[in-house]
Amino acid sequence: MNLLPPALAALGYLVAAVLFILALKGLASPRTARRGNALGALGAAIAVVVVLLSTDFHGANLIIVLVAIAIGLVVAVPAARSVRMTDMPQLVALFNGVGGGAAALVGIVELAEWSGATPSVATTATAFGVLVGSLSFSGSIVTFLKLQGLMTSRPVVAPAAPVLMALSLLAGLGLAAAVALTGNVWVGVGAALLGAVLGVLLVLPVGGADVPIVISLLNALTGLAVAASGWAMGNTLLLVAGTLVGASGTILTLAMATAMGRSVSGIMFGALRGGSTAGSTTVSDRPVRRASADDVAITLAYARRVVIVPGYGLAVAQAQHAVAELVTVLRARSVDAVYGIHPVAGRMPGHMNVLLAEANVPYELLIEAEDLNPTMPSTDVVVVVGANDVVNPAARTDPSAPIYGMPIINADEAGQVIFLKRSMRPGFAGIENELLFSPKTQVLFGDAKTSLRAVLTALKEV
């Protein structure tokens, strides 16, 4: 349809761009976050209506496009609505990946329509969009497979990985340059394939704990690929929206890395340099003090202050409701029970807050690590539910540990520590936790939900 003149269409895009800025601004504060997201969705809806009304469609292409949108809706909306909150990080990774894939495909269609355009800023931008979009696609698919447990979450380092990576990078850049110079669509397809290889090589060596930061980085890259498409097509909305995401995504990636005490280059290339994310996968056979559910119930019932430190194990066991009930029961017995939330507990910064909010845990009981640590020496019991690395004192004491420097919850300073663990397997970082073998530590083995239910039953008889 060609109902909107270009000037009006440009105005519509301006409105959408402003709504996107307001969306990001709103999302940065808890009070306005939900409204911010709604403003973003409104901006997107306006932009799609504008492009449908202002573009000349050839033949039946309008119908075909509308059907394609409907297919996308039918696939994505139920997935987004029904995903369990524990699986949400990989869904975000998947959505990011398909966005990158779309940006790469748009570049290829453009190259075909220009059919051998002269070298220009537009062909250069298209080359960038194709290479980076496809890198983001394949990289996100690998992060999805890692988080979904379809492949190992440990760093995978191929033999001669640095050489392989350098060669693919050179070849990728070479093909992108060839696309910029020739505008040839088949060279573009080659660049897309190399981008996909690069994405896989880039993400494979990253360890499970660092995957969220990589998702954030790939998110920023997809933003830049979209900005490049906007540049190539002379579409201001794509340019502005893509750049916004590229810039804010970069800042967010750095902020997440800081919260985990990691550097972005250490995350991406640490395993290649022979170390920092590659940890041991061995299961320790050193003895630990085992506790029964009754022991745990008695320890908790007669404590004055208890801090619960939830981790990803709690999320996997879907134990957020059980842990919320434990805290309610303890508080009813006038035990000062609170939650100690590490910034990266769960699989992404803030993930644990989302999971506990789902179990209706009052916000006031969620205490962040830095506010919690000064009170640790006066805390009687710390209960660590399915967490490990976030209470590992090696982060403070062992400069050779991969997590050294990461802010942790100082559980070792409390009177007693109780671990609810499935097994002695180390956490994501793949290192042993000395705290497990401390004389003040007891371990209750088993699925977090089953263990918590057993403790709750035992508590009723104390």
Partner: protein, 109 residues
């Protein structure tokens, strides 16, 4: 087509705005913010539609349609999943608690 310098200007200004709006965000909101930004780059849907519209060759239409499907998933799925995360935060307010409490209570023995 807009000239290169105008586009460069837009790019630089947008980059500054992007940095400015997300600085000083609490780590609690990192995940929803990343997810929201993720949804916004789904706007590549507009580009996908624009390149598919004039296509005449069936192969190009097919590639364009694939781009439209993927971009729609990114855009719509992204906003829906972000809203679900944020819904959890607001369900947390005291007013919303009593209705959910019997559910938790019912699970106890």
């Amino acid at each position: 087509m807009i000239d290169g310098v105008t586009i460069l200007t837009l790019f630089v200004l947008a980059a500054f705005v992007g940095v400015e709006v997300v600085s000083k965000v609490s780590s609690t909101l990192h995940t929803p913010l990343m997810s929201g930004a993720n949804a916004i780059h789904g706007i590549i849907l507009v580009g996908s539609i624009a390149v598919t519209a004039p296509a005449q060759d069936w192969a190009l239409i097919a590639v364009g349609v694939l781009a439209v499907v993927l971009a729609t998933m990114n855009l719509v799925g992204g906003f829906v999943v972000t809203d679900r995360m944020l819904e959890m935060f607001s369900a947390n307010r005291p007013t919303a608690r009593p209705e959910r409490e019997p559910v938790t209570g019912g699970q106890s023995r």
